[in-house]
Amino acid sequence: QLTERLNQAFKSLTGRGKLSEKNIADGLREVRRALLEADVNFKVVKSFIESVQQEAVGEKVMKSITPGQQIIKIVHDKLVDLLGGRGVQSIKLPKANPTIVMLVGLQGSGKTTHAAKLAVWLRERKWNPAMVALDVYRPAAAQQLQILGNQISVPVIVPQMLETPLSCANRSIAEAQMKGYDILILDTAGRLQIDDEMMRELEELQLRLRPQCVFLVVDAMTGQTAVEVGQEFARRVGIDGFILTKLDGDAKGGAALSLRAVVGKPILFIGTGEKTDAIEPFYPDRMANRILG
């Protein structure tokens, strides 16, 4: 564990005076390794370590904890800060007619599953949701959302024969207005951020539909490329927040820090399982513990 490794590195230090630059450099070498092992982006780690270094220089060595623990505390607090600070960031969903939430992201990240989870979560908060299957490419994609919709008793609108995603989305808005659904959750096809044609499809959906909230759905096991992905989706489509999925596994989830640091948008939810109730709000301090653990 990081705490043990840092305590090893500082065995000879006694609780007196200030943390020397050498103490800090030694400690931060271990922290850097831990963050990289946790999949935090290489460049994000570099600037994070530099800023911790500046903060740690001149800190008095505290008597009650070991220097290793002290460095961890500085790192931990800074991580929590970067991940969004103490407490939960709440999602802003203005009333529109209907309010539109759109899920986007790479292939297989968990969008379809989280559309259903969000529908349940919203209904618990007195919304009247419907889901819209805009993935016209993946085999049985619409069926997947329909089956989930049946399981949770939420209506699902699926594309008609040869209908484009935009046309289906517009039709679902009309249906929502007619049937009184006050929020629509749009599930889109997985796509590479470097696939220009697919990104243009998303740009057009965003431009024409003006969703109130666009979530980038990201797999918690994503490695170094998370930054490129997040930046490109943010640049082309505009992202309001992230959903980090599959946190019921043992991936450290360092991508969370990279995305938050580079894109500057909050992580609003985490996915913790395959069932439709496995969604929770994102807690920065729990994530910091997970990344450093």
């Binding site: 999949d39 968990g110 997947q144």
Partner: protein, 276 residues
């Protein structure tokens, strides 16, 4: 060019670090590789070339021989496994297409009886490729479905059976036990089955990919790895750590969502793509 007997320079090391870590090879494996390269340079085993070309050679060497599936048994049974969303079902469609083009009679088993529309998704692929598929009821025992498919493959003279399984996180003990049961059961249906067990890994996966491979390999012996989504910006470098630590060879890569976006693994091409 590196002068004989010298160490790698600070700049060389930083460059190699940035490339390897950036490709998800992992900081520990990267440190080991740099240490080994340094030793080789000091001992005079490497006497020239820039850091990138000696790294390229080392990585290609590291990856060893790719796995080429050798359809000896009849039926030759391939089990496809991995965590959620990595591309197993899609890859099976591509594999089936490959075998069919090689003149093999292929059967698919829809062994994901859990996830919404999983069997329906594989059925679309079966139809696209033009191969038969065995499926079970939703929530039926996947081992039973795969057992039935294996029996059918033997009885009806199929050359290859490819069995799809549900995505499962390696941390879920009950799901890993289910996988062990599938392996036991299919071994009872056909002697020596499964003849190949392929772990499908997403090229965007970070260090968790090594944990996935370790747990899957210790639960049910893997014979090969398929890295999907290499058409994206992920480099799949964790495969190098997996190969070093577990010795499991890479079989093929997925380069897109279409039926022929499937390429036999070439260490040279893979390493070149990683280093550019």
């Amino acid at each position: 060019a590196l002068p004989f007997g010298k160490k790698l320079t600070r700049e060389d090391i930083e460059l190699v670090e940035e490339i390897l870590i950036g490709a998800d090879v992992g900081v520990i494996t990267t440190e080991e590789i740099i240490e080994e390269l340094n030793e080789a340079v000091k001992n005079g085993e490497i006497t020239g070339g820039d850091a990138i070309s000696i790294l390229e050679e080392r990585l290609i060497d590291e990856l060893g021989e790719p796995l080429r599936i050798d359809v000896r048994a009849k039926p030759h049974i391939i089990l496809v496994v991995g965590v959620n969303g990595t591309g197993k079902t899609t890859t099976i469609g591509k594999l089936a297409h490959r075998f069919k083009n090689d003149g093999k009679k292929v059967l698919l088993a829809a062994g994901d009886t859990f996830r919404a529309a999983a069997s329906e998704q594989l059925a679309v692929w079966a139809e696209r490729v033009g191969v038969d598929m065995v499926m079970g009821q939703h929530s039926s025992d996947p081992a039973a479905v795969i057992f039935d498919a294996a029996k059918k493959a033997g009885a009806k003279d199929y050359d290859v059976l490819i069995a799809d399984t549900a995505g499962r996180l390696h941390t879920k003990k009950n799901l890993m036990e289910e996988l062990k049961k599938i392996v036991r059961v299919v071994g009872k249906a056909v002697e020596g089955a499964p003849h190949d067990t392929l772990l499908v890994i997403d090229a965007t996966t970070g260090q968790n990919g090594l944990a996935q491979a370790e747990v899957f390999h210790s639960a049910i012996k893997l014979t090969g790895i398929i890295i999907t989504k290499l058409d994206g910006t992920g480099k799949g470098g964790i495969a190098i750590a997996i190969r070093r630590k577990l010795g499991v060879p890479i079989c093929a890569i997925g380069t897109g969502e279409k039926i022929d976006d499937f390429v036999d693994f070439s260490p040279q091409d893979y390493v070149k793509a990683m280093l550019e």
